[in-house]
């Protein structure tokens, strides 16, 4: 399993490696800043959806151990989300905080993206074993915020798009499927009145 997580760690850095290389080699097209920001946003969302896929995938024989890398998947989502937000602050707003705050309030898709990011923040901070132990059963409850964050991320994508909503819709379908899959388990826990996780 240690080998697997090391492997995953390297895989997780590949998109960033490609982005760095592409920026250096001028492969990002006519609007490299837009391309870089979008690239990181895409990967933030993909890692997030992958994180949420662990629960169903564990049922597949041979994949039960996947749970051990779930935290890393989630942290990669946070990592790319952070790059995405930093890209926006540095390369779109040029650290002009006044214009950033105005933008956050004025443009709905930016507001929703910020909410998504804000919800990821406590999850990343409390992802350590120490916090897991300290928070006990509250840890699981807290980490249910991930569903809301993912939903906001999809809405963020949807609102950003001008007319062709196919891409955000596909991401929304994947998220919905991952949620629907959980319904039976939630029903049981509701009946038993014990918190899930």
């Amino acid at each position: 399993m240690i080998a697997a997580s090391r492997f995953l760690f390297v895989v997780g850095l590949l998109p960033l490696a490609w982005l760095t290389y592409a920026a250096w080699q001028d492969l990002l097209g006519a609007n490299p800043i837009e391309r870089a920001i979008r690239f990181c946003g895409d990967w933030a969302l993909w890692w997030l959806l992958l994180t949420l896929s662990v629960r169903p995938l564990r049922r597949v024989p041979g994949l039960t151990e996947l749970i051990r890398v779930r935290r890393m998947l989630g942290l990669f989502s946070f990592f790319y989300a952070t790059l995405h937000v930093m890209g926006y602050v540095a390369l779109d707003r040029y650290f002009d905080w006044e214009s950033t705050v105005r933008d956050l309030l004025k443009r709905p898709y930016i507001t929703v993206g910020a909410l998504s990011f804000l919800l990821l923040l406590p999850l990343a901070i409390t992802s350590t074993y120490g916090y897991m132990k300290r928070l006990g059963r509250y840890w699981g409850r807290l980490h249910r915020l991930v569903y809301i964050s993912a939903a906001f991320a999809v809405v963020h994508y949807w609102l950003m798009v001008k007319a062709d909503h196919l891409q955000p819709a596909l991401h929304g379908v994947v998220l919905t499927m991952l949620m629907v899959w959980r319904i039976p388990a939630w029903k049981i826990t509701m009946r038993n009145k014990t918190p899930p996780f």
């Binding site: 250096w24 001028d26 006519a30 490299p32 800043i33 390369l91 040029y94 105005r102 443009r107 007319a163």
Partner: protein, 303 residues
Amino acid sequence: MPFRWNPELTMQDVTPEEYFLERRRLMKQAALVGAGAVLGLNPLTALGGESQDDTATPYEKATHYNNFYELGTGKDDPAANADKLLISPWSVIIDGAVTKPGKVSLEELLKPHAIEERVYRLRCVETWSMVIPWQGFPLRDLLRRFDPLGNAKYVAFETLLDPQHLPGQTRKILDWPYREGLRMDEAMHPLTIIATGMYGRSLPNQNGAPLRLVVPWKYGFKSIKSIVRITLTEQQPLTSWNQMASEEYGFYANVNPLVPHPRWDQESERRIGEFRRRPTLIFNGYGDHVAGLYAHMDLSRNF
């Protein structure tokens, strides 16, 4: 005073190709100076200097970063799918409130017009901009040939409808065909041209071959591509983006930093190839010539 259509930009502003290449090399060397250079952008602006020049956008960028949804919604899709737009034979229908309506072949349509050079800023509603040397002729010269009637108040344009070949038209992203329109005085304004070429070459398909509209003081979506029909009307015509979301895209769509859009703050723009955003100019900097057209209009309501 005679009307001067293009006071700011001339062929002098077009950067020769060798210079692009040289600049590219320099940009790589300057990579250490900042992220802007790493991203292959103009190092001068990467250092924070606000350059307000209007150097022509490199041809490669102007032809590989396009909004032409008929050929796909990604910015590089139109270039990739360019061959799916079949441009010959091509003809244009001119009808509505004109004395001499008809369907004319492209050759017939272009024959009487002397092609001129116009270097214009192009500002997209998505807050990016370019500078493009177009070749074309004033739209008014074309309209006059068909003798508009007194009741002609607007001009409506339509793009080719060809879902069998145009991949974007197989899905109802917009209500195809793409439609645009101008008020008669806007259409007759000397800055408004029909372009048939750019950078001294024939218009690439992804840029709207074989003929397109260019209205430099309006957001790019007004400058409809690959025109097959021009109709003079009495009523304000339907226009595609306005139909799709009228609270976001007005009929006039004049470049205006004071009227924000829910998705894009219009106060500034990124000139393709530059690192820093630059402030957006009202009427895209053509206010001296066109502000008069809107003298009695509330531009925040008629956006």
